[in-house]
Amino acid sequence: MMHVSATPVLALRGISKRFGAVQALTDVELEIHPGEVVALVGDNGAGKSTLVKTIAGVGPADEGVIEWEGKPVTVDRPHAAQELGIATVYQDLALCDNLDVVGNLFLGREIVRAGVLDEVEMERRARELLSTLSIRIPSVRIPIASLSGGQRQTVAIARSLLGEPKVVILDEPTAALGVEQTAQVLDLVERLRERGLGVILISHNMADVKAVADRVAVLRLGRNNGTFDVRATSQEEIISAITGATDNAVTRRKARTAEGEK
């Protein structure tokens, strides 16, 4: 199931980032191996989005090193991240409702023949891509507006794969999706892993994390708060790492419930 190689494809070493008076990230470490799904979890404001932005080149870190296949690199622009092979699917998907599936998949990297859009080639490749990912869509020539939320999410993920990335970052891909669509997206995440890609999955949903992730990296108040092997860790342990284990609302409630049961 896991083909984890020795060198991580992407490694963050001691990443720190400040916004004015707020220390958003402090000495964060993260490693992604090829063919591995790493869930990045943490409460609101824990620094997940900030960390993703440093990887995606949207908001470079103040300190720390990003290593790509063992070598330190600078990721200061979104373009630099894309060139390395890091694809990011943001939560709001960023699709054009009025364009069809083919148009959206190839937006910004259209296939051109003698200055003219090569619609035939783009359609052929779109069908090929969607069928290798087993994505079910009524037609590649209907506007995005006619697709369901889950189908849009799969199109957005498929689009990120066109640049042949090695690492895909998915920002809450299953938020706002129904049961069936969530299962489809999780299937897709597993197919990405089978293709040997490293996946960073940001999610608030523990069921999703337990279902597809190999490891869980927990952020709390901008710091690493443990990395767990999903199979060997219970949901409660992860949640206590997210919330801070010893004294918090969760443990207090736990104690209260335990007392009540007595």
Partner: protein, 436 residues
Amino acid sequence: MSTNLSKSDGAGDTPQATLPQDAQPAAEGAVTAVDPRLLVREEGFAGYWGEFRRKMRSGELGSLPVVVGLVIIGLVFQLQDSAFLGAENLSNLFVTAAGTGLIAVGIVFVLILGEIDLSVGSVSGLAAAVFAVLNVNNGMPEWLALVLAILSGALVGALHGFFFARIGVPAFVVTLAGLLGWNGLMLEVLGSNGTINLDDSGLVAGLTNHYFSDVAAAYGLATLSVVAFFALSFRDARRREAAGVPSRPLSEIVLRTAAIAVPAYVVAWLFNEYKGLPLAVVIFLGVVVALDFVLRRTPYGRKVFALGGSVEAARRAGINVSAIRISVFALSGTMAALGGMFLASQINAANQSSGAGSLLMNAIAAAVIGGTSLFGGRGKTWSALLGVLVIQSIASGMALLGIASAVQYMITGAVLLAAVVIDSVSRKTQKTAGRA
């Protein structure tokens, strides 16, 4: 216990998905990439008819309302005055429509972005004044003055685009300022005289009064268009077949070609009944076809549509949003200037009322009546052609019947309102049918 925990955590509130126990086999079972709910189109004519009915029901009206409208307008005026559908009247109608139509083509681009350009009337007047002053007053060669006049339109448009895209002023306000400002500059350029008459036999005069009187010209152009349309559709279908993607069957290509051939030859025959193929129509059609190609077949056009759909998505896809916006407004200014030359050519002069009056409203109305959405993201350059024919038919018919311009304005206003109502309703239907 675990539910309690996740609830107090605030993170696990989302309904927990029940995953298939064996996600792996389920994924493999899904390899058939066809959605079972997909309505597959039947082959042949039955399929074509079924597709048409489905489109009508789900609100994808396309050009149908405007074509029906043109037929109704034609019938109504023909019953009132039998000269309306005569060769002379229709030929003149096409020639007078060219100026406004060219301006409307530029408006189509701006509307696809989801913006508006209110300055096109003033810009067209300014371009005419620039040409007249350079050519008549300063003795510059006509072609050079023409190029400079059109360039001035492009420059003015780019300036609007700059204020909109870079400074962030709403396009509505920028072009409203332009509407007033460029009209003022035009009056300034024209000077105290107020009217500059153009050379009767010059280049600009020829724009609307030159006709290719050889019968072969009109029929030749019609034949060329029909053959080119058929050849391109056929080649496209063959390429699609070779690549294994769905293609149009030959019967459908023939049907579509016939649908184009009939009006093409009827119009060609009409032109030949009068003075021949008008130069204005050739240029107008050429611009519509060329810009249609740009819009639908080039990466640039795709970017324009993408901006009309979602600016943020376009930006993240690496599209230079400001550059596209500036270029579209520059194009709108260029088309306004070009249209202005045709309008000046009709009266053979540049005067203080150039580009004033109902020109701006007519150009925007033409684009909208023809089916370009005011909400951005949808439109065709052909809608400028169809829309301007509606506007010009009404104007021409009323003039023929001697109806006062007060009534003309009211009727044109009502037609515009009807077009926008159709646009809004069809958009709503498309939303409920999940197609918008």
